[in-house]
Amino acid sequence: MAQSMSIAVPGQLLGPANESLPGPGTHIHDSNLYASILGPITKTNPPKPLGPPKRLTKIIPAAPTPLSTVSIERNIAAGHAKDGSKAKAEILPEVNSTVLCRVTRIQPRQASVAILVVGETVLDGEWQGLIRVQDVRATEKDKVKIFESFRPGDIVRAVVISLGDQSNYYLSTASNILGVIMATSEAGNAMYPVSWKEYKDPETGASESRKVAKPF
């Protein structure tokens, strides 16, 4: 796999769209391939196509020559990896992927979270996510109070429902297995889940409301 060390900036022209296939980190505009993010340009050569099978009685048109794929890697350091050892595959949250996130802020209509783990992979950087008040529970959506479901600092298991806009993924905890998996009490102690809506501080005995995920 050929590796190029040149860095592309967002909006940089990479070539015409009929010469290469667009990979992650690129987009097509007006039949041209442009870079979408800052990163090193990598060109992956496609596998060599087999020639048409030998037959003496039929002429089969040759398959179109496959194009190489141009992509931009997210991690600039990945472009400097030694030959043969490609940096670990970049995992992005996709729709329906389960993520672990930490609640950063609560507001009356939504909770802002920082996505830390996608599937089984711990991310290098944090992606911002939003859990809207109508996506907290599956039932009685209009009676949900964010203050009784999440608090800043909680670790939450959620599922991505939309790639969202420029700043946020949209997540949902509307399932029994989704919700808060780790919480700290107001007094600062780690709490144990008691029911689907309550955590208990073992030291002070105080209970706090959360949308609790079913432990398994």
Binding site: I106, Q107, P108, I146, F147, R151, P152, E203, T204, G205
Partner: protein, 245 residues
């Protein structure tokens, strides 16, 4: 209410059990200014006077802080800052996050008939949500009964700023004997008709027949607050201001 004032406390002091009230059946209720550290430490978190109520088995610290911290259930006077499609944004105190007041949280309000409040308007509201993670929320109607109980817009009149301690004294069940505020009784006895509303966020609203009386009453309370006048001095002050009208 058998309130007794024991002594001055400083933050972090250890309190002996003799300063805390005891009751055969009721559990001890901790009010503002005290914190319970399990298993059996109770420490003050502010400097002030330790007060206790034997009848309710409650203990708290009476301190005159400058900053109003919203607490659920408090009655406050909020100033409307700006409207938005679903809420009014109102200010409880300067340099603090704004509180939200839902458009429909008024008595008898529906989408068609709801009060149109202008920026600068005053409302008497109750704090419905207050915690350290979110901006406070207000309501002008009791969520259980749907009645306003005296909450809602305050029309006319004038707003005065008083200290939080003075606001608490005015909001006692019997301000004259418990809070030692007699200046209002003096004005009333002299035949001045007026209406006041007190917010725990340190705001006083006065409405009266004439501007002169409104100003006189508001200034009298502010002076009582600022100079710490005792009942005798308050009576003198009331008589002096009533000489004008």
């Amino acid at each position: 209410m058998a309130v007794s004032m024991e002594r001055f406390v400083l933050p972090g002091e250890s309190l002996d059990a003799e300063y805390l009230p005891s009751h055969p059946t009721l559990p001890l209720k901790l009010g503002p200014g005290l914190r319970h550290i399990p298993p059996n430490t109770i420490t003050p978190t502010v400097a002030g006077q330790l007060c206790s109520d034997k009848r309710k088995n409650a203990v708290w610290v009476e301190f005159n802080g400058g900053r109003y911290i919203p607490t659920v259930g408090d009655l406050v006077i909020a100033t409307i800052n700006r409207p938005s499609p679903e809420f009014y944004y109102a200010s409880l105190s300067d340099y603090a996050p704004q509180a939200t007041l839902p458009n429909l949280s008024f008595e008898g309000a529906s989408r068609k008939t709801r009060p149109q409040l202008q920026p600068g308007a005053l409302v008497y509201a109750r704090v419905s949500l207050a915690n350290k993670h979110m901006d406070p929320e207000l309501e002008c109607v009791s969520s259980s009964t749907g009645k306003s109980d005296g909450l809602g817009p305050l029309n006319g009149g004038m707003l005065f700023t008083i200290s939080l301690g003075m606001a608490r004294r005015l909001m006692l069940p019997r301000p004259a004997e418990q809070g030692r505020v007699v200046v209002l009784d003096e004005f009333g006895a002299a035949g001045v008709s007026f209406e006041i509303a007190v917010g725990r966020n340190g705001k006083l609203w006065v409405d009266s027949t004439s501007l002169k009386t409104t100003l006189a009453i508001g200034k009298a309370i502010q002076e009582t607050d600022l100079k710490g006048l005792n009942p005798e001095e308050q009576k003198k002050l009331a008589r002096k201001s009533m000489k004008d009208f």
